[in-house]
Amino acid sequence: MDLIKELQSELVEMKEWPDFKSGDTCVVTYKIKEGDKERLQSFQGVIIQRKGSGATETFTIRKMSGNIGVERVFPINDPFIETIEVVKHGAVRRARIYYLRERKGKAARIKERRRFTKA
């Protein structure tokens, strides 16, 4: 197992993102290939979960498109991701906020987490 962790960093290019966790609102900008053209697209939503560890870690991001919930799962080290930007830190009590799926509108709000920088 340790050998896998050691090797993963060698096999997969580890990317560095700002610190984000479930409840945070993020904008993920990723490349889309259309034929031989590439363009950027962004997805803004709430992080529902971060899953796994090391090179194979993924996160799920959810947004409401009109009245329909849309979720996308990205590998953290996906080479197609350009940037991940944290818009708002959310205050949630669990690591996987699946309860958000049953909520809409006002009920689906997440309190903002105040961050104090340590001196």
Binding site: L11, K33, D78
Partner: protein, 204 residues
Amino acid sequence: MAGIIGKKIGMTSIFSADGKNVPCTLIEAGPCVVTQVKTLEKDGYEAVQVGFGERKDKHSTKAMMGHFKKAGTTPKRKLVEFPIYNDAKLGDEITVEAFEEGDFVDVAGTSKGKGFQGVVKRHGFAGVGDATHGQHNRMRAPGSVGAASYPARVFKGMKMAGQTGNKRVTAINLEVVKICAEMNIVVIKGSIPGGKVSIVVLGK
């Protein structure tokens, strides 16, 4: 035909050049030692016997100790014969460099043992009938195993319950995605039989 013995380390996924997420198995392969070269004159057929992994002296018989001593090596855990290697000599070392990225290999190992299993798990049968409507104890049953007074017997090879897994399985035509020569690692696309740390045989 090139072959090597290795140890399954586990699975992970890597990204290919065009950005696809590829599931992979890591195998620690070799270095192996040629422990015997079999010749047409002496043994009636041509092959090389290759050893991998360390075995303690106290677990090796005296006969085996002599066999390894002849090759000038320490006792090995696993010995496998491969059809002739181009002029391999006794005591030669075989490393992952026998393979190249992009090669297609066959990987043989012992599958995970699942014990005595019914036909649903073992052969993918669907069971008999419904779960409700008065039905009971038929949900995972095999159904009829034969006809009536003719043939008046059950045919050989009829799929029935029994030991599942823990037998030699070969996964064929798996692509070698990457080779880390300094760590003796072969990265193979897809899954291979057996659990972690199990011994597998790679052949090209």
